[in-house]
Amino acid sequence: MKKQPQPETIVHKDYSVIIPPNTLRDRAMSIGGKSKDGFDTEALERAEQALAALADDFSQWMHDESAKLEAAREVFHTDPSNDDNMQTLYRAAHDIRGQGRTFGYPLAGELADGLCDLLDGAENMDEKTVELVDAHIDAIRAVVRDGVRDEKDMTARVLIGELRSAREAIIGVDRFVKLTAEVY
């Protein structure tokens, strides 16, 4: 029976360094091809083309996400202080935050990002905060319903600015430092 490769462990006073066996490199990496670092531009192009082929569905998917957000709002309104209700709403907003731009609705993503910050940062769900939550959801729904895809849309930008000011009045300025470039 073939012996499984074992990790190598180097024990120090307060910590150990463990070098796992390089099974992935051994199995998947080989010498050859056209790239010095393994970056296969043809594979990347194939993947991008496959993603582009899905794009016809993106608009419908965005409408699905918007409907999911509305359903989560209804649950949230039954008891805004209930943590499960808030988590349901948060996950719906969080999905749009992550997917809005991919689906061609960057403004919906930006608005959802603000909504997540509000839900993350608000100390409690008082009447004023719930109103602001609703205002964010209304804006996201409007952007999706009206097919506003231009990131520079003047009306939307004004609204986003107003929502930001209202949000900062509740959760503070620059409460969440965002990393947008290459991160960890």
Partner: protein, 181 residues
């Protein structure tokens, strides 16, 4: 010159959003992967991890039952499963610095912010295959070495506590290959 064959790698994608799973599957197949398994929450993800023994895990953070952070902690828990070393790529809408640090401290290997880009995902996968990091175990951490590169300018206290700094370099295979050419 090196080549990474995605068709020799087994992926597990964990995300509660069906659209995102579809996008990830599409990209991974585009890269050349054949084996892509899916799970829709942290609990199903852990079960799939023990069943399918994936080579690389791509997980969301915010999920029902238990989230991507808890899932990472469970995978990394020494003795809890047969492979605590699998690379975990966290793909999430969270981009707050504090969240990135929490994910790092839970033991994720790579962190990737949504919106997803094919190139960024490809680069992360390549990195975990070609440049694997050693693992470190302290009394309160088990996971990939959080020091990606030794800092010559670091003047603070030695946080691992032993006073000695030892960075174990892993020689990438392609460097060895180049040297032999």
């Amino acid at each position: 010159m090196i080549r990474v064959d995605f068709n020799k790698l087994r992926f597990l994608v964990i995300d509660d959003n069906a659209h995102m799973r579809r996008i990830l599957r599409t990209l991974l197949h585009g890269f050349g992967a054949r084996e892509v398994y899916e799970a829709e929450d942290g609990a199903a993800g852990l079960e799939a991890y023990t069943t399918y023994l994936p080579d690389i895990v791509i997980t969301d953070w915010a999920m029902p039952i238990f989230d991507g952070l808890e899932l990472t902690a469970m995978i990394r828990k020494p003795g809890a499963n047969s492979n605590p070393y699998a690379p975990i790529i966290m793909l999430t809408g969270h981009s707050e610095k504090s969240r990135v640090l929490r994910a790092r401290d839970a033991g994720v290997t790579e962190f990737l912010c949504k919106p997803i880009s094919a190139k960024a995902l490809y680069q992360r996968i390549l990195n975990v295959v070609v440049n694997p990091r050693p693992f470190v175990q302290t009394k309160d951490y088990f996971g990939p070495d959080r020091r990606r590169t030794p800092s010559a300018n670091y003047v603070g206290a030695e946080r691992r506590g032993s006073g000695e700094v030892e960075v174990i370099e892993q020689q990438p295979l392609y460097n060895k290959a180049r040297g032999a050419m």
